[in-house]
């Protein structure tokens, strides 16, 4: 595997398979009472989050801690970032601590790639603008793989606001790489032109949703309503909400969270046995452990150091 994980495009199918197997082995560890392994002892992981995040930042923190790494978490509010320091200067400053990995979430496409130019650490993209969110896609692949095995030939529908979704981009690339047949469906105003060139089919109605093995609903963001992308949430829900009528008994349901109940998903399907939404969250930690492991320990074992007390996280909210 390469040094950084910026895009799903950085990964071959074999890389993804290796991450899945590695995550499965960490899942075993997670079943034990003591969930920690010493793999990254003495190495530093920096979480640099320029955007609000609950599940991604907390699961990266847990993943780093369970690998025994020293962890520094920086949220933009209250940090030097807030004082007008440029991304470059922040990265140069943090690089002075000689981190093994920098995990970055940014509202701008390409931010993770920029960070990779400015630091010697491995860089993991935890979401850059509307571009990509590769670890989300990996945990989705992992969740499905645990449930149904190989994705080869599986029909997966991604439904909703594709235009503004980094999850959709990474998932189309990842599902396609694993051999699934991906259809992207949503209002025509929320599907970018040429999106099919990513390797998916386009649909503007749910008429054929019955053919799907898996339905992956995207979060419909309220703030998008101001852009007149859809006339109203009511009309959106009428056309694209996954509810008990539309979700067949044999179909699986996924969602990257957080869910807008009553908008993209009806309550009854969220609580149905076909929903994998909680499993996706569970997978987050082990898949991110696997990514950290493959990037940092996969090639060349880390130099072991004597056990010491981990310093308190700096700038943790």
């Amino acid at each position: 595997m390469r040094k950084n994980l910026i895009s799903i495009d950085d990964l071959t199918r074999e890389d993804i398979d290796r991450i899945l197997e590695r995550a499965a082995s960490f899942a075993e560890v997670s079943g034990r009472e003591i969930k920690k392994v010493p793999t990254l002892r003495g190495r530093t992981v920096i979480n640099l989050f320029y955007e609000a995040s609950t599940r991604t930042s907390s699961s990266f923190e847990l993943a780093a801690k369970r690998l025994s790494a020293d962890l520094v978490s920086i949220k933009s509010a209250g940090s030097a970032v807030d004082k007008g320091e440029s991304l470059k200067d922040t990265v140069l400053t943090l690089s002075a601590y000689d981190p093994a990995a920098v995990v970055i979430r940014s509202p701008y496409a390409g931010a993770a790639g920029l960070v990779a130019r400015w630091t010697a650490a491995s860089v993991i993209n935890a979401g850059d603008g509307k571009h990509e969110h590769p670890t989300q896609a990996l945990l989705d692949v992992y969740t499905l793989w645990r449930r149904i095995g190989s994705l080869e030939g599986r029909k997966i529908w991604i439904v909703g606001d594709v235009l503004h979704s980094r999850v959709a981009r990474s998932c189309v690339l990842a599902f396609d790489r694993m051999g699934a047949e991906v259809t992207v469906c949503g209002p025509p105003t929320l599907i970018p032109r040429h999106f099919d060139e990513l390797g998916c089919r386009l649909a503007y109605s749910l008429d054929d949703i019955g053919s799907a093995d898996v339905i992956y609903a995207l979060r419909m963001q309220h703030e998008r309503m101001t852009g007149a992308y859809v006339p109203s949430l009511r009309e959106y829900a009428a056309n694209y909400q996954i509810d008990g009528r539309r979700l067949g008994a044999g179909q699986l349901l996924m969602h990257p969270g957080p869910v807008n109940r009553g908008v993209e998903l009806a309550s009854e399907v969220i609580d149905s046995p076909q929903a994998l939404i909680t499993q996706q969250v569970e997978s987050g930690v082990v898949v991110r452990m696997a990514v950290l492991y493959e990037l940092l320990a996969g090639s060349g074992a880390p130099t072991p150091v004597a056990e010491e007390r981990a310093p308190e996280p700096m700038g943790a909210a």
């Binding site: 440029s86 991304l87 470059k88 940014s106 701008y108 496409a109 390409g110 931010a111 790639g113 920029l114 850059d128 603008g129 509307k130 571009h131 990509e132 979704s165 980094r166 981009r169 970018p192 032109r193 040429h194 999106f195 060139e197 990513l198």
Partner: protein, 452 residues
């Protein structure tokens, strides 16, 4: 309507002494004057004096061995951002005109979107005065169409024209409201001078940062659709026709735009247009790298658009090449793509880039490229450089075989945000003579190295 011609030139430069020069044995190429052959060329008293075989050198003249070089009329760039006043850290009149001379240009027109905007007579006069002190080559200044380029109220166009505005534009922004443009074009009857237009419908370009296409879909970045440019060209061509006015369309980027200009020309609209080297050489594929050196407005578009621009340049639908040289400070460009400012520098690489990408592979003939690179002043009623004897000495000496890497020796410009930075080029400017004076000489280019 043809805008009235002004007797006084709107171009200013620091006074420089004309040099008498003899270039021996260069290929003298000027398609407009029907010149193409290995000759001697004599520049005397600021004019092209003679072209012929084994000409005697005037006393005291510098003698240049032109063997293997091509002497062409120097280029004119109607679209340069000199960033003065306001951002002299990015470019000033001295550095910008030095960069232009290094690119083989003998005249440039600066855009008015400075801080403050060139929208009144005092700012324009101050700039002209400064150019008379600092400009290495003749430099003209366009003034804004609307006050503050806000699109609301017309500037005092008649007075600005009187004071020597070379034309009018709100470049950087469109004149969004059709009614305002109509008034400006009506007023052209009084002010003269062509109105140059940055074409973009803001309701279509919205918060876009790159071409809307397959690459923007992949990168998840908001796109600027081609139609945001072409629909405005079609609109403005109709207004110009209705008002019998002359317009110049800046930096064409899309196939639809070339078609809109072709249709307008066929309908008899007094319309001219320009295209930039980056749009003629690069596509949105380059943006995959998310390198902010490829962010500009209008954006790099698809290969099909590039092909349409090349064909337009060849066939004449596109009248001239313009660099849209737009310097930016390094820290401004060292940002994520979406937040970085739009614009790239291009004066020093214009000829080399087009020669490398279009002439070397046989896509465009050299004479056509020379014609388009010299024609930039014509839409503004300025003199078009020529080597015809008796013309002002505006000459560029090219080495078509020279190989070099862009940026290897730095830039004459104060800024380094060149779209071609790091690229290998074939062909470069060895020397530029503007208004009779040597404006640029490549450092390694031997002076008078002719064996006696």
């Amino acid at each position: 309507m043809t805008p009235p011609r002004f007797d006084a030139s709107p171009l200013d430069a620091a006074a420089r002494e004309a040099t008498d020069v003899v270039i021996r044995g260069a290929r003298v190429l000027d398609p407009r004057a029907d010149l193409d052959g290995v000759r001697d060329l004599v520049l005397r008293d600021g004019e092209v004096a003679e072209i012929g075989e084994s000409l005697p050198a005037p006393e005291g003249a510098e003698v240049i061995d032109g063997d293997g070089l091509v002497a062409v009329p120097a280029f004119v760039d109607p679209h340069v951002h000199l960033r003065t006043p306001g951002r002299e850290d990015e470019e000033d009149i001295a550095s910008g005109t030095r960069a232009a001379a290094a690119g083989g240009f003998c005249a440039i027109l600066a855009q008015p979107n400075t801080d403050p905007v060139v929208d009144n007579g005092s700012i324009l006069s101050a700039l002209r005065e400064r150019a008379r002190r600092e400009a290495r080559i003749p430099t003209g200044f366009l003034a804004a169409v609307t006050v503050g380029q806000n699109g609301d109220a017309l500037t005092e166009m008649a007075e600005l024209a009187e004071l020597g505005a070379a034309g009018f534009t709100d470049d950087g922004r469109p004149v969004a409201r059709a009614g305002i443009l109509r008034q400006a074009l009506q007023y052209q009857r009084l002010a003269g001078r062509v109105i140059a237009l940055h074409e973009e419908d803001p309701s279509l370009s919205s918060d876009g940062v790159m071409h809307e296409g397959a690459v923007s879909a992949l990168l998840g970045m908001a796109g600027i659709p081609s139609i945001s440019e072409s629909t405005m060209i079609a609109r403005d061509a109709q207004i110009a026709l209705y008002e019998d006015a002359a317009i110049h369309i800046q930096h064409l980027s899309a196939r639809e735009s070339v078609e809109a200009v072709e249709q307008a020309k066929a309908a008899g609209v007094a319309i001219t247009c320009e295209a930039s080297p980056h749009h003629l050489c690069l596509t949105d594929e380059a943006v995959r790298s998310l390198d902010t050196g490829f962010k500009m407005n209008p954006p790099l578009r698809a290969e099909d658009d590039r092909q349409a621009l090349i064909e337009g340049l060849r066939a004449g639908a596109i009248d001239c090449v313009a660099t849209d040289h737009a310097p930016h400070a390094r820290e401004e460009k060292e940002q994520p793509f979406e937040t970085a400012p739009m614009g790239v520098t291009g004066l020093e690489t214009a000829f080399a880039a087009l020669h490398t990408a279009l002439v070397v592979p046989g896509i465009l003939d050299l004479p056509v490229l020379i014609e388009r690179m010299t024609a930039g002043g014509a839409p503004f009623g300025l003199h078009v450089p020529t080597l015809a004897p008796g013309s002002p000495a505006n000459l560029t000496l090219l080495d078509l075989a020279a190989e070099w890497q862009v940026g290897e020796a730095g830039y004459e410009s104060r800024s380094a945000n060149c779209a071609f930075d790091g690229r290998e080029m074939t062909g470069r400017v060895r020397m530029t003579i503007a208004a009779g004076a040597v404006a640029y000489r490549e450092r390694s280019f031997a002076i008078g190295a002719v064996p006696a």
